[in-house]
Amino acid sequence: MTALVRLSGLQIAACKDGGVTSIVRDIDLCVEAGEVLALIGESGSGKTTIALALLGYARPGCRITGGEIEVAGHRIDRMDEAALRTLRGRVVAYVAQSAAAAFNPMLTIMRQVIEPALVHGLMDRAAAETKARGLFRALALPDPDTVGDRYPHQVSGGQLQRLMAAMALITDPALVIFDEPTTALDVTTQIEVLKAFKTVVRDLGTTAVYVSHDLAVVAQIADRICVLRGGTVQEQGKADQILHAPAHAYSRALVGAAAPRVPAEPIAMPPPAPGEAPLLELRDIVAGYGGLDANGRPKACILDKVSLTIRRGRTLGVIGESGSGKSTLARVVAGLHSAAQGYVNLNGVPLASRIADRSREDLRRVQLVFQNADTALNPAMRVGQTVGRPLTFFHGLRGRTRAAEVARLFDLVRLPAAIADRLPGELSGGQKQRVNLARALAARPDLLLCDEVTSALDPVVAEAVLDLLVDLRRELGVAYMFITHDIERVRAIADDVMVLYGGCQMELADARALGSGPHHPYSRLLMASVPHLKAGWLETTMDPFAPVPGQAGATADGCRFFSRCALAMPGTCDLVRPASLVADDRLIACHRELAEL
């Protein structure tokens, strides 16, 4: 069998300010027909660059400077723009990293999905629409007949990612490239999308290149794996071999980072003095968007009676899928969003609900660290400046003392001090996230609100940042509210875990107790959704979104998880909000008995 895709000696360079820097060097690859090849490697290793080269495309500022690219008998490297145009979308199709950004917000989904078929003159509109609906069905999209009439913002991220795949598959291309199609999704959605992809790839016999940085994901779908680092191939081989017997040191590091983490050693803190108030205490917080109704509840109620406490030096993990209200919770604590009901106490003293009404001291004590370091750092400000500002603002440091303190902070987050003069654009993702952290630490806070600080990072870097957080906690005694959708991460860092679903608190438990004893059905679902570094896991796991047959939605007063709950009791769960079951190390909001869970 001959290779469908062949890359040899591929070189790609970026031209910037007159200089030329090599991005990707000496890539030799081939993919057999019907095979799925995974490209794996850390952020910036050149995965996307190589994938795009298969379309004969280099991003603005970059150029393919050498090597041969052959796809389905076409010599891509020798084709001009017009010839490439007839190839793209027809012979090679591309599923972008972020479907949300790749869909045109102004056009309906159907128009965009069938566009490749129309511009290549493969079929007429009606035929294309029929085919698209077939693909929607095959990709397990809800409402396959009407979803095409919606606009991109009207469907969820996971659905968009599948719609993008439909768009790629509509022309029956010889090769499909999936560029990290699930990285931006939370675990439960990721499973759903992965399942759909796998089914389609198998059923259509598609040849695919699958780009990812997550080995566990790759394990589910790839036949062969190619490990990249710094623009060169480190190791190539059968999936089994790379996963179970990696030869290269970097491959081993990757496999190591993907293995389940040992829970962090609990950190010994002096026991609270009797009568000492907890550092942070939330009681019955109700928050949301839009005006308040007659009962004083917001029109769109995002958080519904959430209560929690965090003691000095402790870590609370908050988990839940996208849209469950995690960020809103952090915003309420940080004063960026006013709660409609309930109160927030800091050291036993009520915190004003708005920033403007908070004292500078209160602001200093609580610091928010954002998920996306790209947007959380001012691209026009040198990072030394960024970190130095809280020092001036809260502690009045200036000049040399400030510079010294900035250097100390950089050292604390394991960054070279020389980096202070750079702009964020000149840093890697992991470096940016550390700067982000250093800025929060500069205030010398008592509580750090970490909103998905590791989600945007590849596993190796994410590991490093997590380790750093653990170290800092030990060194500085800060408390964390650690928000994530990744239950593994929570297990690694938190003392207590709160599970949010639809703005309601489903479970509050000791982190070490996770995985043993009774749990809320949703918590179980979350835990089951974490991909395992084992081929075939995907097939055996349950489908997180499949509504339990015959179970419609609950009333407004019912349990939010009702429609997806396998243990739901119609007649009770859909009508009445469950009270909390109390066990020694956990609180579970459910109508079932503890023993049943």
């Binding site: 920033i355 959380a376 750092l377 001012n378 400000m381």
Partner: protein
């Protein structure tokens, strides 16, 4: 890349020439600016009068050299004020809803007051002097700068790093000046270039009203205007000031465009 470098060179040369003429031009002027030196008017270029003479028989070269100083200086300062004030409030408006409300209404009103009325009120209450002139020009063009800056800043104000600064309790002026502004330098500079053109043109319009540069001095636009009767016979007196004005503004915009990496939004 070669082309931007050529563009930059051309732009910088034009701006440099204007600046040079603004600085030392009046010293180089061969004749006194108000002196009637030629019995003929609108005379063509000659050895004695390289750019001919104007409608009164004054030396056009001397007048252009001096007028450049006024156009450059006044337009620059006025545009600078309009841009600074407009940008500060525009950025401030983008980060606060009631402030946005108040400022937007306020600037809508300023736009709505006819500039003729406004000019007259200014003259009757403050008299005509160069500071008043600059102030008037600035007021007329502040709302435009405000709108542009506000639209641009609305995009930036939604980004997380602004939220970070706000959650730290930073004041409005820190957020506006240190966090938002540096991200908008490019498009705002492009807007500045275009606004400079409009200011330079309005300057000559105001001098018609009596608010402008006082005789015997004039700005470039006013030179074009006072010599317009010479257009019919192609008098250099009308062509050269127009040319000087156009090359100044084109040069400035070319420079800004190439320095800030291409013309971005000028909304």
């Amino acid at each position: 890349m070669r082309r931007p470098r050529i563009a930059l060179a051309v732009g910088a040369t034009l701006v440099g020439a204007a600046l040079l003429s603004a600085l030392v031009g009046p010293l180089l002027a061969p004749h006194s600016i108000g002196a009637v030196v030629d019995l003929d008017v609108f005379s063509p270029s000659s050895a004695a009068f390289p750019l001919g003479t104007d409608y009164l028989g004054r030396d056009v070269l001397s007048r252009v050299l001096t007028a450049t100083r006024y156009t450059v200086f006044i337009s620059f300062v006025a545009t600078m004020i309009a841009a600074s004030v407009g940008i500060f409030f525009g950025l401030a408006a983008a980060s606060g809803s009631w402030l946005d409300m108040v400022l937007s209404r306020l600037f809508d009103i300023v736009i709505a007051i006819p500039s003729l009325m406004f000019g007259l009120v200014v003259i009757t209450s403050l008299g005509a002097s160069i500071p008043v002139l600059i102030g008037t020009l600035a007021v007329v063009y502040t709302p435009g700068a405000f709108r542009t800056a506000r639209a641009l800043a609305l995009n930036v104000a939604a980004l997380d790093f602004i939220t970070v600064a706000r959650s730290r309790g930073e004041g409005l002026s820190y957020i506006v000046l240190r966090e938002i502004l540096p991200n908008l330098i490019g498009p705002l500079a492009a807007d500045f270039g275009l606004r400079f053109v409009f200011v330079a043109l309005l300057l000559s319009g105001l001098s018609f009203l009596g608010l402008g540069v006082q005789p015997p001095y004039a700005d470039l636009g006013a030179l074009v205007r006072e010599n317009i009767a010479g257009l019919g016979f192609g008098a250099p007196a009308v062509l050269f000031p127009a040319l000087a004005l156009a090359s100044l503004t084109v040069g400035l915009n070319l420079t800004i465009d190439t320095l800030t990496g291409g013309r971005k939004a000028t909304r």
